[in-house]
């Protein structure tokens, strides 16, 4: 959000520098979303809009309770509704609050070409620093969860900030405060993991044998976690990735191709330079000129 927090950065996009290390003792935070007690009321969505002053356009009904129809520059969180018929033939309506997962190893940050446009604070929150964002959309490609959205008005990328402004002054994110059933919790990540275990034990007593915590290690864990009744099949919840990882393509693109490419360019330039000082310029000699003149003259004569 601001340079005031710059000493809290532990990861910074598009930098070759080491981020400030002196203050990296802060507790990691996490938001825990207990899907099993979410009633899909969208209080979190409206709280997000209220706190962050977001007002997307009034849309249309598009065949589901999901409104707006998708995440967007002004839609940082969205309730997703999936009608699922289980093996017993009973209906389950799986409702999931979608939004930035605040990965420990953020794909957006990895992909971002603008220095400091995406940062991760010591508490784990991944934040977009708008004045540095160039609107290229690389974060969209980097994200394994399909979260960031680029505004057509200001060409900045937006997503949930985990209310980093509130958290930095000791408040919980707005969605957490608004949730009427306590389905969204917030605190130290270790506490949230413990809380999740209690919930999982309770869910197992209700017959959800595969209840579990969604904290995917493929992205180093996330700072937004879910308690799922069907942790064995995250994709049931409106396509929550079963095994989210930063795409190999992005890894390649943002990995060794970057230094290799620069080296290749530099090498080509250097090769030219050394060729110049070794072989030197290829100059036209006077003999050449004479020969050339001769050929031309003979040609003219022949033609005339």
């Amino acid at each position: 959000m601001s340079e005031l927090q710059s000493q809290d950065y532990v990861r910074i996009s598009a930098t070759t520098m080491t981020p400030p290390m002196a203050r990296s003792h802060e507790d990691q935070v996490a938001k825990l979303i207990d899907v099993s007690r979410c009633i899909g009321c969208k209080a979190c969505q409206s709280a997000c809009m209220e706190w962050n002053d977001l007002r997307p356009e009034i849309g249309h009904f598009e065949g589901s309770y999901e409104n707006p129809a998708d995440l967007g520059p002004s839609v940082w969180t969205l309730m997703k509704f999936a009608e699922h018929e289980n093996e017993q033939g009973n209906l389950e309506w799986l409702i999931r609050k979608d939004g930035c997962m605040h990965c420990e190893d953020p794909g957006c940050l990895k992909a971002c070409p603008a220095p400091g446009a995406i940062v991760q604070y010591a508490n784990g929150i991944v934040d977009f620093i708008s004045d540095k964002c160039i609107g290229c959309g690389y974060c969209v490609k980097g994200c394994p969860f399909n979260i960031p959205r680029i505004s057509k008005q200001d060409h900045k990328s937006y997503k949930c900030t985990l209310c980093s402004d509130r958290v930095s002054v000791g408040l919980e994110p707005a969605c957490v405060k608004a949730c009427p059933t306590g389905a969204i919790m917030f605190g130290a990540k270790t506490d949230m993991q413990q809380q999740a275990q209690l919930r999982i034990v309770e869910l197992k007593t209700r017959g959800f044998e595969n209840a579990g915590l969604y904290d995917p290690q493929e992205v180093g864990g996330t700072h937004v976690m879910y308690v799922l009744h069907h942790a064995d099949k995250p994709s049931l919840y409106s396509g929550l990735p079963d095994k989210p990882r930063i795409s190999a393509t992005v890894d390649l693109w943002k990995g060794f191709i970057k230094p290799l490419g620069l080296a290749g360019i530099a090498l080509a330039a250097l090769a030219g330079f050394f060729h110049w000082i070794s072989a030197g310029p290829n100059e036209v000699t006077e003999e050449d000129e004479a020969e050339g003149e001769r050929v031309l003259r003979e040609g003219e004569e022949k033609l005339s």
Partner: protein, 810 residues
């Protein structure tokens, strides 16, 4: 609610039937989640649709709209068959053992005493057999064939699981599983709470739906206990307060009955109110009725109400019909019998059935006054908004006065929540523009009318001229002043007749309704509110959340009527000896000399258990009623009647298919559709994202649920070629709505009497004013018929057809 929101957490089973608590009451629903997590409670949902409440339920069973009585009578059948009732509770606290009159009977769908011409009952046989002292006879051995429990057993014997499934469309195994879960709370230390709302009230048999579940709860011993009760989740802030202060056409404040035109004198009126105890030694609280009425009259008319003029009884309006409900009002408008209408915080064009009829009625008025913070559809009924409101302005002569009012956050005052708490709130912002408080507007109208009466006389100026109006600012009484007036005060020094000592000085605010007198020495505008604003201050403004047993009772948070009691009938939380049924969650108990506990006893505080006084002191027999005597229009036991518009005949008694005492106006009956033309059952409801027709004016809510739609099952959608998110036309005999379709797995066809029956869900929230996209409103489709007791319209079950179509003309 008999209990409180917080108390829900004490339940072992939570049943949501006739409501959709998670969607309509998301904030209160936290206590259901709490019950599940902290108390291991099971949540059961019975609903035509798989709702957001069902999404977090442990068990869901579908039911055809309008068949709850068949389901619940089936539950009673199951409980009695399996003997899964709390015997000691039922014997001691219900009228199970009382003997019913010989003439009482039930045959072919009708109880004894039916008058076919009048569509009503002579209820004289619906009563107990009395002994020579006027007390009800009983048979504690339950052997007498006419004791209530045996009559009930006989009545529900037809509601076998097969029959329930045949009527309700609920698969038998699901029905039986629900029964099992209910039955698990027959144990004395287990409780089930029933959370319901408009899903039960908005039927032609609405009151009986609720009564039916109350009977189940009595049989299970779940009334009066922590985590139990019948909990009506009130939808509208401040709808509980509205009924409390008597804003219904047949009531006065505090649920006192408005006189009818046969009660020509005060004595005549009181005759039917002072219920005599029907059991020896029983307390009957309504013995105090006279005190409440006289104190109300003193509050209304002050010195003008005297003993000599029967406390100005003649100034009260007298009803010539059971009630002047809204359906009747619009019938009268359409017939030219009502020419002016004041809509205060009310949007009937969207909120009442058969919009076409409402619009025509409004168009026949001479004047219409709307008082609302929002630009309601009713205020704009005369304007052409295209197909959503095709009005021909040039032909409408109604003069409309649109008066903008303040919102709750723009004024001080109290709101009564579902748990009967009067919670004071403080003004947070100034009202925009020219908005004025309802008090200011109503006072202005009153003062001007009074001036006209004073100058010009009129048919009957006395009550208007005699009305007491002693407020600091007579143009705008202060909310605190009004609250004090409702609380009541001593008008003269109150003297204890035993000691002759002055117990309460003249002018003192009363501590509670126990101090009210019938000699004109006290005034109280609403006896049940007495105690809300005492000499100790504004009790409604209290904000101490401490809850001594962590059991959901914080006695110093706000103030609950009556007498700051949080759980009604809490005497029944303890056994006849005064020991709590559930020692882990006691409410009150007898300590040898008095009743003690976390709540104000709903009982004489020092009445000994051995005195045998029944716990339901508002009833003349002191017992919970499995047999309702003459209090219900349809009969003392609930009986399944089909909705007025139903896809099937009543399989129990085809000749008496629907409610035999429903009041139906002739032209309304003509606008009922047949299943041939309109083969699908429709039900209307609310969505979390919106509050009635208000929040479509709010941008965020409009964003969250922008456009009108219906919900339709996949099977029917396929049959009709309806696409996900495509346009459909839903039509009833009364009108049509063109909107989007939500093709869903959450509504499945049901097999009713062997035939597949499809349900169409119609959310209500859209209209043609506000920020959301323009819509018609569900009540374009609904029938104009109400519950026979309350005239609450039957919004929840009617017939429609549905077809694929294209977008309506812009």
């Amino acid at each position: 609610m008999t209990n409180t929101w917080q108390d829900i957490k004490n339940a072992n089973v939570v049943v949501v039937m006739g409501g959709n608590a998670a969607e309509a009451h998301p904030c209160g629903f936290k206590w259901v989640i709490e019950a599940k997590i902290e108390n291991g409670a099971k949540l059961v949902v019975v609903d035509p649709r798989f709702t957001r409440t069902a999404s977090v339920a442990d068990y869901y069973a579908p039911i055809r709209p309008g068949t709850d009585i068949a389901f619940l009578n089936g539950v009673i059948h199951y409980l009695l068959e399996k003997d899964a009732i709390q015997h000691e509770y039922v014997r001691a606290y219900t009228n199970a053992s009382l003997i019913v009159k010989d003439g009482f009977g039930f045959q072919d769908g009708l109880f004894s005493g039916y008058n076919e011409e009048k569509h009503s009952y002579d209820k004289s046989s619906w009563d107990y057999e009395l002994d020579k002292d006027g007390y009800a006879q009983s048979d504690d051995s339950w052997q007498h064939p006419r004791c209530v429990i045996n009559l009930l057993r006989q009545h529900v014997s037809r509601y076998t699981p097969e029959m329930v499934s045949r009527i309700c469309g609920t698969p038998q195994d699901k029905f039986l599983h629900v029964c099992e879960l209910f039955a698990s709370t027959a144990a004395p230390d287990k409780a089930m709470t029933s959370l319901f709302a408009l899903g039960w009230t908005q039927h032609s048999v609405g009151a009986q739906n609720i009564r039916n579940m109350a009977m189940v709860q009595l049989l299970l011993g779940n009334i009066g206990v922590a985590g139990g009760g019948m909990n009506a989740l009130r939808g509208h802030s401040n709808i509980q307060g509205l009924t409390d202060v008597g804003l219904l056409s047949n009531q006065m404040p505090g649920y006192l009955t408005l006189p009818n035109d046969r009660e020509t004198s005060f004595d005549e009126y009181m005759k039917t109110k002072l219920y005599k105890p029907l059991r020896a030694g029983q307390t009957s609280y309504w013995q105090n009725y006279r005190k409440f009425v006289v104190s109300l009259q003193k509050a209304l008319f002050a010195d003008a109400a005297t003993k000599d003029n029967d406390w100005a009884y003649d100034w009260l309006p007298k009803l010539d019909v059971p009630l002047y409900d809204i359906i009747r009002a619009f019938e009268m408008m359409n017939n030219g019998q009502m020419n002016g209408y004041i809509c205060q915080g009310f949007n009937p064009l969207q909120a009442f059935p058969d919009r076409g009829k409402i619009r025509r009625g409004l168009g026949k008025l001479k004047f219409l006054v709307t008082m609302d913070p929002l630009d309601t559809e009713t205020s704009r009924f005369w304007q052409d908004f295209g197909p959503q409101n095709p009005a021909k302005s040039a032909e409408i002569q109604t003069e409309v006065f649109q008066l903008p009012t303040t919102c709750f956050a723009e004024e001080n005052g109290s709101l009564v929540n579902s748990a009967r708490w009067l919670q004071w709130h403080w003004k947070a912002a100034d009202a925009p523009g020219e908005a004025k408080s309802d008090i200011w507007i109503m006072t202005g109208i009153f003062q001007r009318l009074r001036e006209l009466y004073r100058k010009e006389g009129g048919a009957f100026p006395d009550p208007v001229l005699g009305m007491s109006w002693k407020y600091t600012d007579p143009r705008e009484p202060d909310p605190e002043e009004l609250a004090k007036e409702m609380n009541g005060r001593a008008l003269t020094d109150l003297i204890d007749p035993a000691t002759n000592a002055v117990v309460t000085k003249a002018g003192t605010l009363l501590d509670g309704f126990a101090q009210l007198r019938d000699d004109g020495s006290t005034a109280s505008g609403c006896w049940i509110f007495s105690g809300c604003f005492t000499e100790k201050g504004n009790q409604m403004a209290r904000r101490d959340a401490s809850d001594p047993r962590e059991q959901g009772i914080a006695p110093n948070w706000a103030w609950a009527w009556p007498a700051n009691r949080r759980i009604l009938y809490n005497r029944a939380s303890a056994d006849p000896d005064g020991k709590p049924w559930n020692p882990a969650k006691p409410v009150i108990s007898w300590n040898g000399s008095k009743w003690v506990g976390i709540d104000v006893p709903d009982y004489g505080p020092t009445v000994k258990p051995s005195d045998g006084v029944g716990p339901f002191i508002m009833n003349a027999e002191g017992m919970g009623r499995l047999f309702a005597r003459d209090l219900m229009a349809e009969g003392p036991f609930p009986e399944h009647y089909e909705p007025l518009e139903s896809p099937v005949e009543n399989v129990l008694h085809p000749k008496v298919s629907s409610n035999p005492v429903a009041r139906v106006f002739a032209d309304d009956r003509a606008s009922f559709g047949s299943p041939k033309q309109f083969p699908y059952v429709a039900t209307t409801y609310r969505l979390t994202e919106h509050f009635h027709y208000w929040t479509k004016h709010a941008l965020i809510n409009a964003i969250l649920q922008p456009e009108e739609f219906i919900e339709i099952g996949e099977v029917l959608a396929k049959e009709k070629g309806i696409e996900q998110g495509g346009w459909v036309k839903v039509s009833s005999k009364r009108g049509e709505v063109i909107c989007k379709a939500y093709v869903t797995k959450r509504i499945k066809p049901m097999t009713v009497d062997g035939k597949p029956t499809h349900v169409i869900g119609v959310p209500i929230h859209w209209g043609f004013t506000g920020q959301a996209r323009k819509g018609y409103g569900a009540n374009t489709l609904t029938p104009s018929v109400g519950d026979a007791n309350t005239q609450t319209p039957e919004f929840k079950a009617f017939l429609v057809n549905v077809e694929r179509t294209t977008a309506p003309a812009a």
